[in-house]
């Protein structure tokens, strides 16, 4: 049976070069980077090399603006909590959007419990934040605006540079969760104009367990983990050296390959989206028609539920995901689709195909071949479909 991996938004297979670069640090180069001897300095050197590579990928001015974390989620927590707490003498108000990853959204909710105010700006039907809404939401008490670079579920890319012009003018810091974009499309912190940016290694062919937060020099942020001198004293804990090395190599590869990645994925994405709309009745494409990631195809299939489609796809060798209730275990429709105004019942039938560099046209055509009969079979079982035919 053919195997098709269309779940790159969940994670990617580490590049062979990444794995090979990591291996020595799991074996003989095992030193603690904080140690003074040769074992320590070898590990320290490897981490600093990785830091420079990550800085270069996102065009950060200085490697020391990169703080390694365990994940993109940790970077998001660090940014929100660290900035809010570090700047509370100015005010206790944060602005974010209704479609953020839970790492940002739940951090913001935690900050509310800690006495901060949060404004969640809406999005339009394509999932785009209106910079004017951000401008309106900013008050003299606002310290931070956090808007994701691209949404990991529907792939819509946000007008971050435009938002940055507003935050700079108003003297407010801007964070962007760029986990869905770094290593997939070009990301340049200077062009975007952001003060903080989160990224994650396993989203772009690096290992799990390594992410980073870019913090522009001079930004006031409180330490996220107390207890050591690591990461400039802001994130204690002996570094995950192998994973950080892997992240560095993934960043270096991405720097060379990113322009080509978009060019490879876009035609596949468009072929898949077009094919689904042509071959299946009552399928709707979610997200912005053009301002979108080259990797994401998110659709809602009416009258059926996402998890059952995924289980049948899996039986045919196709790995995909869904923002729907059952898969996310939240028992609620995706907050992203809900914020975009998608009917809650329709949102239950959402499917996300996220493409990556190993995928081919044959993969796309295989999915277009196996999915329509699955949809038909589930619709024959669905009382909603029967009700539609009756009416």
């Amino acid at each position: 049976m053919r195997k098709v991996y269309f779940d790159h938004a969940a994670t990617t297979q580490p590049d062979r070069r990444v794995v090979e670069a990591m291996l020595p640090y799991l074996e003989e180069t095992f030193g603690n980077p904080s140690s003074i001897h040769d074992y320590g300095s070898a590990a320290k050197e490897a981490i600093e090399k990785a830091r420079a590579r990550v800085a270069s990928l996102i065009n950060a001015a200085r490697p020391e603006e990169i703080y390694f974390t365990s994940s993109g989620a940790e970077a998001d927590n660090f940014a929100l909590k660290g900035i809010a707490l570090g700047n509370q003498q100015k005010g206790k108000h944060i602005v974010t959007s209704q479609i953020e990853h839970h790492a940002v959204m739940h951090s913001a909710q935690t900050m509310e419990k800690w006495g901060f105010q949060v404004t969640y700006v809406p999005v339009d039907k394509y999932g785009v934040v209106d910079p004017a809404d951000v401008a309106r939401a900013i008050t003299p008490q606002t310290t931070l605006v956090s808007i994701m670079h691209a949404n990991s579920e529907v792939g819509t890319i946000q007008p971050i540079a435009e938002i940055a012009r507003i935050t700079r003018e108003r003297g407010v810091l801007l964070h962007t969760d760029a986990v869905a974009t770094v290593g997939i499309i070009p990301v340049d912190v200077k062009e975007l104009g952001v003060d903080l940016l989160s990224l994650s290694g396993h989203a772009f062919y690096g290992p799990k367990g390594a992410g980073a937060l870019y913090v522009h020099k001079g930004v006031r942020i409180v330490p996220f983990i107390d207890g050591g001198v690591q990461e400039g004293g802001r994130r204690a804990g002996t570094e995950n050296v192998p994973a950080i090395v892997g992240l560095g190599v993934a960043a270096e590869i991405a720097k060379a390959e990113v322009p080509g990645r978009g060019a490879q994925l876009t035609p596949l994405r468009d072929r898949l989206a077009r094919g689904l709309l042509e071959r299946i009745d009552r399928v709707y494409l979610n997200g912005h028609p053009t301002q979108r990631l080259p990797s994401h195809v998110n659709v809602c299939v009416e009258y059926i539920e996402g998890e059952s489609i995924l289980l049948f796809l899996n039986m045919q060798g196709v790995a995909a995901s869904s923002g729907s209730a059952c898969t996310s275990r939240a028992l609620k429709a995706s907050h992203v689709l809900t914020a975009m105004g998608v009917d809650p019942a329709l949102a239950q039938g959402s499917l996300l195909f996220s493409l990556g560099r190993g995928n081919t046209q044959e993969d796309v055509d295989y999915v277009l071949e196996v999915l329509p009969p699955i949809v038909e079979r589930l619709r024959q079982m669905s009382p909603l479909y029967a009700a539609r035919k009756d009416s």
Binding site: E307, Q348, P383
Partner: protein, 139 residues
Amino acid sequence: MQYSTKVMEHFANPHNVGEIPDADGVGYVGNPVCGDIMQLYIKVQDGVITDAKFKTFGCGAAIATSSMVTDMVKGKTIDEALKISNRAVAEALDGLPPVKMHCSVLAEEALASAIDDYYKKRVLPSPVKLKVGHEHEAD
């Protein structure tokens, strides 16, 4: 999501899918916003359920529990059928993940709703106490 082999069997090849045009009772529970709807049909002869079919909108567990509950009621008297609990349905499927237990509750309620409809169609007092609305169990 870790489903038992039994759940996957009933999901992949569900028993009793369809409608009974001249059903003696039809139950309809759930709503699309929650992500699952079950429509359950029963045929009753001399107080015994002789046939049962379903149509379900929902996840793998919703389809598997529909399949299992319709299997279980066939040949049972109304009184026996009313004693089928959601736990019994889940156990017959070798268990459900905790976040999916609400699907077995839905199956129990769909059956109760069909039996209630059977009594109403006959203008008889229904022994069924239907729950108002459908609440998910907390995960």
